[in-house]
């Protein structure tokens, strides 16, 4: 497949653009617009639509509100306004053109009037998540987490919700709860090596806080999770760097050497970011 097309589709599929730096968002916006304008014949209808969806988000981030409105109207003409992603997009538009309260109002009426009775689980989930993301800043942490937990009760198989909860708990320093949430993510996606890494990280921080007697056991547990993550992905930088650190603390020489070897391998790889980070970590070791 054409690498340019594949790159855009990967960015869309993994939603990398939602965490990209401003410089990246800005350049991605330009590139994507040119690409979609060029009319690549190899793009299927579905791929084209999902890239357009990404373009909508990028235009919102970058502050081109008129363009975002136009994109929304294109979607609405094509699919009608009553569809999950369209609801979320409309709420976003209200958020930026009007006030958060208006968007909140729109979404709650939507939930109350139709979605509570509809059988569209995806729509309910997406709209509820959007509602939570709007409420996040106005509610206290406890109230907010309670609302997320209510939603988790309704959708216990949604990994993103569990992950989000884990992040919230991690931010509050409640590592027990955070690790429980990540274990739930792993029950849903057993081969998610990133989640294994995250779980290891949570346990590592817990170990740093633990008393001496528990510390070694928690560190061991954390190490095991990192080992599992690199079992699933041989060049997973986060996994190897934590393995090196923990095995150094626990005095496991063989493992430390192995991790150092792997970090050197990553340092030599073509991946720009990973290679630079691996170099830094090796210097610190």
């Amino acid at each position: 497949m054409d690498p340019v097309k594949e790159r855009f589709l990967t960015i869309e599929k993994t939603k990398y653009y939602t965490i990209a730096s401003p410089a990246e968002v800005s350049s991605l916006y330009g590139q994507l617009k040119t690409y979609l304008g060029s009319g690549d014949q190899a793009l299927t209808e579905l791929e084209y639509m999902s890239l357009m969806r990404m373009l909508f988000d990028l235009t919102v981030y970058i502050g081109k509100d008129v363009e975002a409105e136009a994109l929304y109207k294109t979607f609405a003409d094509r699919l009608g306004e009553n569809s999950p992603h369209l609801h979320v997009m409309k709420a976003t538009l209200i958020q930026i053109n009007d006030k958060d309260a208006a968007a909140e109002n729109y979404l709650t009426t939507l939930l109350k009037d139709s979605l509570e009775y509809d059988t569209d689980a995806l729509d309910y989930l997406l709209v509820s998540k959007k509602l939570l993301s709007i409420r996040r800043n106005s509610l206290t942490k406890e109230k907010f987490i309670r609302q997320v937990l209510d939603l988790v009760d309704k959708f216990p198989l949604d990994a993103e919700l569990w992950w989000f909860l884990a992040q919230e708990y991690f931010g509050l320093g409640q590592f027990e709860q955070a690790s429980y949430c990540l274990e739930e993510v792993l029950c849903i996606h057993p081969f998610n090596y990133v989640a294994f890494g995250q779980l290891g990280q949570v346990l590592y921080y817990k170990a740093l806080r633990d008393k001496k007697t528990n510390k070694t056991a928690t560190l061991e547990a954390s190490l095991n999770n990192f080992l599992r993550s690199v079992e699933l992905s041989e060049t997973f930088l986060k996994g190897w760097s934590f393995i090196a650190n923990i095995s150094k603390e626990l005095g496991k020489k063989e493992l430390l050497e192995l991790a150092k070897g792997k970090l050197m391998e990553i340092q030599k790889s073509d991946s720009q970011v990973d290679s630079a980070t691996a170099k830094l970590i090796l210097e610190k070791l």
Binding site: R228, E231, L232
Partner: protein, 107 residues
Amino acid sequence: MSSSEAFADIKSPVSIEFNRKVILRIQDITSLVYGCGAGILQLESLQGFGLFAISYISVAFVFFAWFCHFQPGKYFQSPVQEVLIDSLFRELAGFVMAWTFVYALLG
């Protein structure tokens, strides 16, 4: 099976699907063109099927050598099954179609 064994044997469905598509595409195109070749040569009965067998096996061999570097186990769960057996009748049908079409056109 212990958990460590289970984890050592995890395969990526994306890669499996990708590799399967590549070999299928190669076999689809080549079997049609070899069918045309059989028609041009006006082969009949066993001779035609012989050409199919030779072409099918040699394409698979080139694939194993060139694309798999003689390590098909790295790219297929069960190489013989996936490359040689699964698509046999599909390719045979394509071959016979092209063969009879060109045979009738030229004869």
